[in-house]
Symmetry: C2
């Protein structure tokens, strides 16, 4: 298994500087010196040109060239040739629908799982790397053909995980209540709640929590568990955590 | 047009007492003296028995009997016979999927629009009364066959509408940003943001904002507008506000 993933909770951190500043060291270490050009997938935002400029400017400071899939004449061919892939955040439904519309879901999966092309996702780009988008926080502004995602890991992630605010007067469900509702459904996988500032590094069958904040793991029928940055979460990659179909 | 709707933002209001207490006067006035028994649809929550007990106990204090659709041998027949309908809140995706699975979407629409059966919705039950569930706040824990909803009004509603918190350190999108993303998509209808404490009363082609809080209207390509309780929002019911297919 050559899989190499960097799954980031959020693109911009409060008090942590500009776009991707809070995880730039991890990005440099992740793509390393062998990757020269990263294929950027801007499908989660409406203004793809502007989004590409933001990503291109940031990656340039780290020494990487950025090619955007929306500028390629053949998106599938662009994935086939990619040295590294980065899917940015935005609306998860819009992103997944565009991935299906452009027929790149299977090709991304093949390149990452078989060819070992490094995959970085942020926010919505992290959601679509998992089994399904069923634990996104986003509004369902468009309807993708399925909630099944690229499936690079056998569990789900909730990016921007948020603890309940004890002072809130708002009566909408807390994030934990929403994930609990998900686990009321049969055969649902574990959900890793990545707080802003945290990210998951996956190298083959090894998974490590990076960043500055803790993560909370929710598994069906079990109490939730907190993990400190640096924790080994490789157990999440085993088939035992894959939901029964 | 016999349509009669009471679309409530939220079932429980902070500091406003127990379940449906904050809108009980409006409920009594809405169902009136002719309706004796209300058909309750508890599909948005996992524990339907418990949810039905909660609704039954509350409606009993207002003088109405409650029959739950999940206790009926034939859900479509239960809708066909209903004197009044109440769809409660919970998860909007779960609710809409169950409405489709039980084949009651068209029958509810027919009973309300043609027979004038009064329809009350709260939170998720308000979402499914509109054109689509594309402006729900809920997590997509299950995948309905479509995001198209019952379509009793030609626009969308965002229940539990929430103003941005200026002190927040959280970097997820604000509610307004999410609705703006929806309006980046072509042919999207107006979205009425109903703050907790507010509700919309629709009688034929007349719509009135009720409750204690203001509502915010978002229309594609226009600045958003605030409306005070008591405002006449009948203009939202005209075909001019229906999105072009």
């Amino acid at each position: 298994m050559k899989r190499k993933l960097l799954l980031v909770s959020n693109s911009t951190l409060h008090g942590g500087g500009g776009y991707l500043d809070h995880c730039q060291q991890q990005i440099s270490h992740f793509f390393g010196k062998d990757v020269k050009k990263v294929l950027f997938i801007p499908y989660a935002l409406h203004d793809r040109d502007n989004y590409t400029k933001t990503a291109r400017d940031k990656f340039k400071t780290l020494g990487y060239e950025v090619e955007s899939i929306h500028e390629a004449s053949d998106p599938v061919e662009a994935v086939r040739k990619a040295e590294g892939i980065f899917i940015g955040g935005g609306n998860t439904f819009r992103l997944l629908k565009s991935l299906y519309d452009n027929k790149v879901v299977t090709e991304i999966q093949r390149r990452v799982m078989e060819d070992g092309v490094p995959y970085m996702g942020s926010s919505a780009g992290t959601n679509v790397a998992t089994i399904s988008i069923s634990t996104t926080n986003d509004m369902p502004i468009v309807c993708p053909p399925s909630f099944n995602a690229i499936g690079l890991v056998p569990f789900n992630i909730n990016p921007h995980y948020l603890d309940p605010d004890p002072n809130s007067r708002h009566m909408g469900e807390t994030r934990e209540q929403r994930i609990t509702q998900y686990h009321e459904e049969p055969n649902t996988p574990s959900v890793l709640g990545l707080r802003e500032g945290s990210m998951l590094l996956v190298e083959g069958n090894k998974a490590t929590l990076l960043g500055t904040t803790k993560a909370r793991l929710f598994s069906r029928g079990k109490p939730s568990v907190e993990y400190e940055p640096g924790s080994d979460l490789s157990f999440l990659l085993s088939d035992a955590h894959r939901p029964i179909k």
